[in-house]
């Protein structure tokens, strides 16, 4: 109360401390950027590099991100680190659905991004068939530097608010469209053509 009274009486002269003004939205976005908590979703080789990023040498805690949450309900960011198999795909989607909004996804490595060198029956050809992806990190596996770069890119996108806008436009991400590509029935499933 005292603050408002002081301003009422003396104008800005009445303030005792420095302060910053801004939109609530930018303040919230700033806060979100600095406290992204990743869900542990290590799958394959990339998970080792993700752990390396969290360890002392690359030290993700500099960006408020060292707290890998085992429960998806406490996490904001899912780093899909590694190849996603047909058997894992429903699990991945369930973990994503359990995360609270706002949530973001980094697809780490070529296997998660596009299937990579494993273009076969077992691997989902890109995790974006299952969940909406915000940033793709290339590499097999991406080094910790690449992952950090992906995280910075995500920070920028969170800061501009671009991501949340997009999500409200299209109603919140891709549906689960995994079908068995077994080759038993000869025609191959072509993505986007069904």
């Amino acid at each position: 109360m005292g603050l408002i009274e002081n301003v009422k009486d003396d104008g800005f002269e009445g303030l005792e401390h420095n302060f910053v003004t801004g939109q609530v939205e930018s303040l919230v976005q700033w806060a979100r950027t600095r406290s992204l908590w990743p869900a542990t979703f290590g799958l394959a080789c990339c998970a080792i590099e993700m752990m390396a990023t969290g360890a002392a040498h690359y030290d993700m805690s500099r960006y408020g991100m060292e707290v890998f949450r085992a429960s998806p309900r406490q996490a904001d960011l899912m780093i899909v680190a590694g190849r996603v198999s047909q058997k894992m795909a429903p699990v991945l989607r369930q973990v994503y659905d359990q995360m609270m909004e706002p949530k973001w996804v980094i697809s780490m490595g070529v296997c998660a991004s596009s299937g990579g060198m494993f273009n076969n029956y077992a691997i989902v050809q890109g995790v974006d068939e299952i969940v909406p992806v915000d940033v793709y990190a290339p590499g097999c596996p991406p080094g910790p530097e690449t992952l950090l770069h992906a995280i910075f890119t995500l920070h920028d996108k969170i800061n501009t608010g671009e991501l949340l806008q997009r999500r409200s436009d299209n109603g919140g991400g891709a549906g689960l469209t995994i079908e068995q590509r077994d080759g038993q029935s000869a025609p191959l499933l072509i993505r986007g053509a069904q």
Binding site: Q86, K87, S114, N119, N120, Y121, A122, Q125, D128, R166, N170, Q180, R181, D182, G183, Q184, A186, L188, L189, I190, R191, G192
Partner: protein
């Protein structure tokens, strides 16, 4: 797709001398490694004889689908080639001797007796062979899919099962976002 036609003349051993026997099954040599060729009927007998002979460690069980390579020549006389072949690798922990057992399995009755009662370590490798090739192991305690989802159709490592490659597509930027 990689099958050589039958005409390939590359064989390592001359088929004329009759193969020696070990545990009552023909014994051959493949690059210095001993291989016995029991039939499905003698599969368990040979395995048990090998176990009693000191091969206490079942290193692995796997299988090969010879659909696209019918002209293979490394079988001894008297062993009828079939489409599938189940391979069991045994080793003797004390003497470090190794031996391989290969049994021919026809496609119309893909069953082999399980080795579980001799080496309990055969449980998951046999499940993998069942999952990947559709070969059933008779009397196996828990024969179900291990790597693929429970409701998957087909057996991926069979040669008539396509690799499932999809063409790489470059999406329109506007369409997917």
């Amino acid at each position: 797709m990689n099958a050589e036609p039958d005409g390939s003349t590359e064989t390592e051993d001359d088929p004329t001398p009759p193969a020696p026997l070990r545990y009552g099954a023909p014994l051959t040599d493949s690059r210095g490694q001993a291989v016995v060729h029991p039939s499905r009927d003698t599969w368990l007998e040979v395995a048990e004889a090998a176990l009693n002979d000191g091969f206490d460690h079942l290193t692995d069980v796997t299988a090969v689908d010879f659909l696209e390579y019918p002209g293979r020549r490394d079988l001894p006389d008297g062993v009828e080639p079939q489409r599938f072949e189940v391979v069991a690798l045994l080793s003797n922990i004390a003497t470090r001797e190794r031996i391989r057992m290969r049994v021919q399995v026809p496609v119309d009755d893909p069953t082999v007796p399980t080795l579980f009662d001799l080496w309990p370590g055969s449980e998951t490798p046999e499940r993998e062979v069942f999952d990947m090739f559709g070969i059933s192991f008779v009397d196996h305690p828990d024969l179900c899919r291990i790597l693929m989802p429970d409701d998957w159709v087909g057996h991926p490592l069979r040669k008539d099962y396509a690799v499932g490659r999809i063409p790489v597509q470059f999406k329109d930027q506007g369409a997917s976002l």
